[in-house]
């Protein structure tokens, strides 16, 4: 694997060397300059043909001297200036007039669409935000309503409880009062019965006292007997 990589690198390096070095050895510089000189002399003869026939060699001599001078690389060559201008003019006119406006339109359209989309998204966001606020507000209202209902229910229940307690207390008071009245009546009846009995016994006792002449001890025994009879009589009643 490694060897293959090295071989591949070697092949690439070799090809690169050949490619980059090829123009340097494309043509022998001497031969090239000779060709240039030949063309130049031919041109000099051709341009000065008439003068040479008139035996005026000044122009021809100057032209030959120019041929020996290498053309300076810092003097702009007229043909290159002309062709360069034409090439630039073509590219400038076509691109500025046709290609770039189309390109700019495409960019502007896209920008417009993105702006529209963003604005739409922003609008939707704001709408959602408003909807959320509304929903939260209604949720708050509902919660308050629920609280109110619960509170009312609690109050109603409390009222019911209070009513029941009041009624129970009233009922209890009535029952107690009735019981007291009953007890009172029973006591009054008992007292009346007692009074009646005491009266009867007193009459009876008086009859007995009158029947016998009583000494002190007998009186005492009589009283005690009376009391015990009253006690047993009240116990009976």
């Amino acid at each position: 694997m490694r060897i293959r990589r090295f071989m591949l690198a070697g092949v690439i390096a070799g090809v690169t060397v050949l490619i980059v070095a090829a123009p340097a050895s494309a043509q022998d510089p001497g031969v090239k300059f000779g060709e240039h000189l030949l063309h130049c002399v031919e041109d000099a003869i051709h341009d000065n043909e008439a003068a040479i026939e008139d035996e005026d060699y000044t122009g021809f001599r100057n032209a030959l001297e120019d041929c020996e001078k290498a053309p300076s690389i810092i003097s702009p060559a007229t043909p290159e200036l002309i062709w360069g201008s034409v090439a630039f003019l073509i590219v400038a006119v076509v691109l500025i007039k046709f290609a770039f406006p189309a390109l700019r339109k495409s960019l502007a359209d896209r920008q417009e669409k993105i702006r529209g989309d963003l604005e739409g998204a922003e609008r939707a966001r704001q709408e959602a935000e408003a909807e959320k606020t509304r929903y939260e507000a209604s949720l708050g209202d509902a919660r308050a309503e629920a609280n109110r209902i619960v509170e009312e229910a609690r109050e109603a229940a409390e009222q019911v409880r209070r009513d029941l307690v009041t009624r129970a207390e009233t009922d209890a008071a009535e029952i107690r009062s009735r019981a007291q009245q009953d007890a009172q009546l029973a006591a009054e009846r008992a007292m009346s019965d007692l009074q009646q009995r005491v009266g009867e016994i007193s009459i009876e006792l008086a009859e007995r006292i009158v029947e016998r002449n009583l000494d002190k001890d007998t009186q005492m025994a009589l009283v005690e007997s009376y009391i015990s009879s009253v006690g047993s009589g009240s116990a009976k009643s």
């Binding site: 070095a21 041109d43 690389i73 200036l81």
Partner: protein, 259 residues
Amino acid sequence: MILAELLPSLNELFSWPDMFNEHTALAFNKTALMAFVSTIICLLIFGLGSRKRALVPAGLQNVAEMGYEVIEENVSLQTVGAEHAKTWTPFFATLFFWIFFINIWSIIPFIQFPATSRLAIPLMLALISWVLFIAVGFKYQGKGYIWKAINPSGVPFALKFLVVPIEFFSKFLMRPFSLTIRLFANMTAGHVLLAIFAIMVNELLIVRNSGWYQAVFSPLPFVGLVAFTAFEVLVSVLQAYIFTILTAVYIAESMHEEH
């Protein structure tokens, strides 16, 4: 000494035989050919790139749009501003990409010749830039543009005798000259450098078989050649950018009065 023998005269690196219209004012040589091929490449990229109008750009459309936007953001908006960017970006983009494609031929195998290393091309571009910024100056500042441009306000009267000629010289005479020479000299130097390294590689690896030192030293110029080829890519982009942004700066300056 060996190198001096090997190297051809500079003209051998820059003069090309005419292809047609030989020895006339319309002689067509490699420089003209490269200029036209660059034109065709620009037309293809931006022509085809602007034909498709997909919402999500891809391929050539993407390249064309990115190229246009790069120039708009980095050149137009920085110089002439948003107000004039729409008007001037197409020209700046054309200038940048045409110069770039002409420059980049310096590293394209079998061509290896930047047409901008011939003085005619940078000179022609500099003259266009020169004419444009002067025309813009007259358009925006009226007839008094030249005087306003060379007579900055706030300069004491006595100094004006010095400042006015300097301003005139630097703004109206030196600008086309400096634009031309900067582009021409950079591309020429790069071309010569690549040619020197290429000749050294050729001589050491292919032509001469001189024994042990060849094995030791021959990789060095090759490494240099590769490195300078990469460097030449950077130079091609940079010089195109510099030429374009300077033109943009000159035009932007002509739009406003000096303060």
